[in-house]
Symmetry: D2
Subunit: 150 residues, 4 copies
Amino acid sequence: MAFTAADAQFERRTRESFAKQGIMAHLGAALGSVAAGRVEISLPFRPELSQQHGFFHAGALSTIADSAGGYAAFTLFPPEAGVLTVEFKINLMAAADGEHALAVGEVIRAGRTLTVSSIDVFVDKAGRRTHCATGLATLMTLVGRSGVQG
Amino acid sequence: MAFTAADAQFERRTRESFAKQGIMAHLGAALGSVAAGRVEISLPFRPELSQQHGFFHAGALSTIADSAGGYAAFTLFPPEAGVLTVEFKINLMAAADGEHALAVGEVIRAGRTLTVSSIDVFVDKAGRRTHCATGLATLMTLVGRSGVQG
Amino acid sequence: MAFTAADAQFERRTRESFAKQGIMAHLGAALGSVAAGRVEISLPFRPELSQQHGFFHAGALSTIADSAGGYAAFTLFPPEAGVLTVEFKINLMAAADGEHALAVGEVIRAGRTLTVSSIDVFVDKAGRRTHCATGLATLMTLVGRSGVQG
Amino acid sequence: MAFTAADAQFERRTRESFAKQGIMAHLGAALGSVAAGRVEISLPFRPELSQQHGFFHAGALSTIADSAGGYAAFTLFPPEAGVLTVEFKINLMAAADGEHALAVGEVIRAGRTLTVSSIDVFVDKAGRRTHCATGLATLMTLVGRSGVQG
C-alpha cells in the first residue's frame, strides 16, 4: 500500500503535533520515521512503564500504538485537518519483556472521513525482536473544527 | 451481574498487585473501590497526560481502563493466579476534556480460562460527568505459571 | 440511556429497511421490538445456521447482532439518512447451543456522524437464557448520499 | 510468517470440519486453499446475502471471515483439538459491491492456548478487486473436551 500525502508538509505537521502530546515526553517516547501513511514511535523501557510483573504495561504499548496509528492517518490529511481516534482494538500476543518497544502505524485504507490503520508493537530484548501486539485503529478527519469531536 | 470471589483476600491481593504497576504511579492513577468483579481507577488530569489538544490522551484512558478491566477479572481469580490481558477494544466517544477521569471495569462473564470485562471511562469537568470511552477486554487466568504468557 | 428519535416515523423506516436485507429472510431472522435507540432481532435455530459442533455459527449471531446495532442507531437518524457499519467487535462468551437466539442492539452514544451501539446476543435452551455474546459497533450516518460509503 | 503444521493431516481435518458447518452451504460459501496457517473461503454474491442497499451484508462477510480465521488457526492445532472463536473485530472499509467475496485468514501468532489470526475480505466486481474488510480474531485451542467452551 503506497500512499501519496495531500500536503507536502506532512512530516513537519506530524512532528509539531507529536511534540504537543504531553504524554509522549512523560513516557519517554520518541517519534521515529514519518512517511506518507506510516509512522514509528519508540519507547525505551523504564520501571515507570511497568505492569505488576515488571514488563511494559499494555497501556504504555497501547498509548504509543494509538499515536502511531493516528499519525499514520494524519500524514495523509489535508493541511488544517485534525485527527481523532474513533476506536482501536489491540491483541497482546506476548509478554512485553524487553529494553525497548517500537510501535508501527500503517494506513490500510484512507477515506474522506474515516481512515483505518494497523498498529503493531515490537519489543527488543538482547538483540531479539518479538512481535508483542497487533491491532487496528479507526481514525476520523476533523476539518474546519477546533479538533474536538462535535 | 453479581459475582462471588473465590478468594476472600481478593481486595488485598488486588491492591498489592496494583501497587506493583509502576505506570500507575507515573501517571498519577489511584485504585478506588475494589469489589468482586468490579474495580475503579481514578486519574486526575495533568499536562503530562495530554494529547495535542490538551485533553487526556486516549492512551492514558486506555491504560487505566485496561487495568480496571484486568483487576475486575482478577478479583474473581483463585489465590496464586495471575491475570493477563489477551486483548481489548475501546471506543473514544467524546473529547476527554476535564479535571479527572474514572475508569470502571466490570466482569461480564467469568470463565475458567478466559474472562470478559466491560471497560468504561468517565471524565468530570466543572461538576458534569461525560461518558468518554467504552470498551471490552478479554483476560486470561494464569495458574501455576510465573504470570507470564507461555 | 433514553433517546428521542429525530423522526417520528423511525419504526416504519426501520421495518422497511430490515425487509430489504435479503440475508435476514435467508437466515430466518425476524425484527422484534423497535424503540428509539434499541432494536431486537430474533433467530430460531436450524441446521443451516450451524458451525461444526451443531450450535449457532458465530457468523449467524454476528449477522443479527450487526443489524441490531445498526438499526438501533438508525432509529435515531433523521429521515433520508442511511446507516453504515464502520466496524464491530464481538466476544463469543459461551457455546451458542439452543433453540433460539435474540440479538439486542442499544445505542450508547449518538453523534452527528458516528454512533456507538452495544450488541448482545442471548440464546434460549429449554427455558434457560444464556448471554452468549457481547460486542460494540460503530455506525456512520449517511446523509445526502446514496447510502454507499464514498 | 511461515508456520509448520503439527498434524500432517491438517488439510483433511480442516475440510472435514468445514463440511460440517451448515451455514457455509446455506450461504453458498466454498473452502478454497488450505495451507499451514492460512485459509481462504469464497462466497459468490446472491440476493439472499444482501443488506438493504443490495450489497453483501457485513454479517455474510463476517461469517466467512470468522471461519477463515478460525480454520487458519485450526490447521496448526494437534489432531483431536477443536477450535473456538473467542472474539473478533472487523472494519468494513468499503461497500461490498461485487459478484464474489474472498475471505483470507492468516495466523499472526500461534500459542498453546490462544492463537491470533488476521481476517481480510476482498470483493471482486468486473475484474477489479477491493479490500472491503479487515479484522483480527482470537481463537482458542480446545483439547480433551468435546469442542464446547466450559
